[in-house]
């Protein structure tokens, strides 16, 4: 026992000021509430559309802005957008320039948007579902599986060209994810920790097999193709791949938005979510499988582009706080915009050579990430 026998009665503790020495403090979060979630989404959408319009005018071939926009408005049948109609007297774009804009730059720009958007939103979901701020779309071994699938197709010479490689990558991604699911679930219940461990194991295994196959074949041409694939690139973008990826992205996005409230309920963990009325296991299955399918498609289109899925969700939460009802749409829009500009840089700064976009995402992404981490520490 301790304490003097004669004590003054303690001061009443029902008031909260200064409790435990915690200094009352104002909230300094930049409040998106002042312009509203709708406002910020509209603003980001406008920026994204503007970015696409500007990005397609930038490139190796010397094509004027006016020419670029004329091509697009022609093809889209939007007479109102025609710069000619504004009386600026543009000459009609040449056939070659029209091809460059419509068959190369625009699908590539849109592909960058779709891939960036998809990676960012999958990263946001994975970070919440696994309660792990380090989570990214490749956590479940999907990228390693895709790489192995692509490599096998390239090496075996199956299916000429990119369609075959993409199909191989998608098949590899699915196979890896199925393995992770089999290991990570126990009688129908998904446990994040088991899934992460299974994902790491499967990822390492696929990586080892990939290295082995490359060494075994020792074909410099195949090795070069494989290297290109592994670093991630949007150079092979075509309308066909973009359309598939865009449709999957939109479907996944709607499904994710539908679960935004449930994801918020995970703030204090799975038991808290369950006691708030969320069917934790069902939500996990639906969202993880959707994440895996979407990631598989994205990797099949562009290879494994790193850092977008890890970085963008943190950046968005830094800007608007942790509410998924705003984090999910904004991650999508800003992720698309981010990868579009990174890819534009990657294909132009060392003109005529092109940098792998994954190299640029890491070089830009890592310093930005560190900056955000430091800011967060100060604020916490």
């Amino acid at each position: 026992m301790s304490g003097p026998p004669v004590t003054e009665s303690p001061p009443p503790r029902s008031t909260h000021q200064g409790e435990d020495g915690a200094v009352p403090q104002e909230s300094h979060r930049p409040s998106w509430r002042s312009i509203g979630a709708g406002g910020i989404v509209v603003l980001a959408t406008a920026l994204l559309v503007g970015s696409v319009l500007v990005a397609v005018t930038i490139g190796q071939a010397d094509i004027s802005i006016r020419e670029s926009w004329t091509v697009m408005s022609d093809r889209l049948g939007l007479a109102a957008l025609q710069v000619d109609a504004l009386g600026l007297g543009a000459r009609h774009p040449s056939q070659i320039h029209a091809e460059v804009i419509w068959e190369m730059r625009l699908p590539r720009a849109l592909n960058a948007v779709v891939v960036g958007a998809g990676l960012a939103i999958v990263g946001a979901i994975m970070q919440t579902l696994t309660r792990n701020p380090m989570a990214d779309p490749y956590l479940l071994g999907i990228s390693s599986g895709a790489s192995l699938g692509a490599v096998l197709v390239i090496v075996a010479g199956l299916g000429s060209g990119l369609v075959g490689v993409s199909a191989g990558a998608f098949a590899g991604a699915l196979a890896a994810f199925l393995l992770v699911l089999m290991i990570g679930q126990r009688s129908g219940t998904l446990t994040p920790v088991r899934m992460i461990l299974a994902g790491i194991a499967i990822g390492q295994f696929c990586g080892a097999v990939t290295s082995f196959v490359i060494l075994w074949v020792a074909d410099p041409h195949a090795t070069q193709d494989v290297q290109f694939w592994l670093s991630g690139s949007l150079a092979a973008s075509r309308w066909s791949s973009m359309r598939i990826a865009a449709v999957i992205l939109v479907v996944a996005l709607l499904l994710f938005l539908w679960h935004a409230r449930s994801l918020n309920a995970f703030t204090f963990g799975e038991d808290a979510a369950a006691s708030l009325g969320v069917d934790v296991n069902r939500v996990r299955w639906v969202l993880l499988v959707t994440c895996a399918l979407l990631t598989g498609v994205l990797v099949a289109v562009s290879g494994a582009i790193g850092f977008v899925g890890l970085l963008l969700p943190h950046a968005v939460r830094f800007l608007v706080g942790p509410d998924h009802r705003i984090v999910l749409p904004l991650s999508t829009l800003l992720g698309g915009m981010f990868l579009l500009w990174v890819d534009t840089v990657a294909r132009t700064v060392f003109d005529p050579r092109e940098l792998p976009v994954g190299v640029v995402t890491a070089m830009l992404g890592v310093p930005a990430f560190i900056w955000i981490l430091r800011k967060r520490q100060v604020r916490a």
């Binding site: 909260h16 309920a265 204090f268």
Partner: protein
């Protein structure tokens, strides 16, 4: 049953913003034959208990006696092997999870997050079971959340970040979140575990003032004696005793279940049982002598000598 002078008057004074409107008849909680085992090891076995409506029922028992498991079975965070749980006459196993969350709210002992949420965000989570996927928070939701924050004396903290709160403040916010679920039953899993005595007392007073039917696992026996109307003692997965604090908290039971020697007196102000525990003889300090009030010592030296 002994009255509780400081709270008796406020029990039914209608402090709760809105009691659950689901069932006009409130029977309270009724647990029948609940058993749960993991890999052949029985954790709780054939539990029978009731938690009367509008009362606080305390669930006691030493570590490993199955308290948390039983609470998880009641809140359906784990499905029991057998047995049924009724709340106000409704079989909880038949409810969808969302409907369950409208009737039953849980406060865990230490639920934390690294999300950068504000206090108001956390309290609004309590409206999750009432809102569809795409609905925003209505002004009613916000009003309820503010009312609940006022109820736990945290309204000034609405815009504060979670990470800046003390342990006691966090538990009060969790309690406010539970209130905004407008439950018929409050399930508390050792809610005062990490709190100092002042915060523990204030949290339990808030629970008592809410007037909600409450089923709470508690570690501190004196806290349980002070605040609970009804006690249930678990021992190795079975119900060992139940009744009022005076009926349950006897020296014999404390010896049998907790394996401690204790004197049971009467709290001078609440009239509730007051437990004093005795350490095993061999660890008593050699110099321990009975202290006689007023004998040759200032309070200071006495304090030093006893500490």
């Amino acid at each position: 049953m002994t009255s509780t002078p400081h709270d008796a008057g406020s029990r039914d004074a209608g402090h709760t913003p809105a009691r659950a409107g689901h069932s006009p008849i409130r029977h309270g909680l009724d647990v029948h034959d609940v058993s749960w085992s993991v890999k052949g090891t029985v954790i709780v076995d054939g539990i029978e208990l009731t938690a009367p409506a509008t009362k606080i029922t305390g669930l006691l028992g030493p570590n490993g006696s199955g308290k948390t498991t039983l609470l998880r079975a009641v809140a359906r965070l784990a499905a029991p092997d057998r047995g049924v749980v009724h709340l106000d006459g409704v079989d909880l196993a038949r409810l969808r999870r969302r409907d369950l969350a409208q009737r039953l709210a849980v406060v865990e002992q230490h639920a934390g997050t690294d999300h950068d949420v504000t206090v108001l965000d956390v309290v609004l989570l309590g409206r999750t079971p009432y809102r569809s996927a795409l609905q925003g928070d209505s002004s009613d939701d916000r009003a309820l959340a503010r009312q609940a924050l006022a109820q736990v004396d945290m309204l000034d903290f609405a815009e504060r970040r979670w990470s800046t709160l003390s342990g006691g403040e966090k538990q009060r916010v969790h309690l406010a979140r539970a209130f905004t679920q407008q439950p018929a039953l409050l399930v508390l899993d050792e809610p005062t575990n990490h709190l100092d005595i002042a915060h523990a007392l204030s949290l339990m007073s808030l629970v008592r003032r809410s007037g909600l039917t409450t089923f709470a696992a508690l570690h501190d026996l004196n806290l349980a004696a002070t605040f609970c109307d009804h006690l249930v003692v678990l021992d190795r997965g079975r119900v060992r005793a139940s009744g009022t604090p005076h009926e349950v908290l006897t020296p014999q039971l404390l010896r049998d279940v907790y394996e401690v020697d204790a004197d049971v007196g009467v709290h001078p102000r609440t009239g509730r049982p007051l437990l004093t525990f005795h350490p095993p003889d061999e660890v008593l300090p050699d110099t321990a002598e009975p202290w006689i009030p007023g004998a040759s010592a200032t309070p200071e030296t006495v304090a030093r000598g006893r500490s």
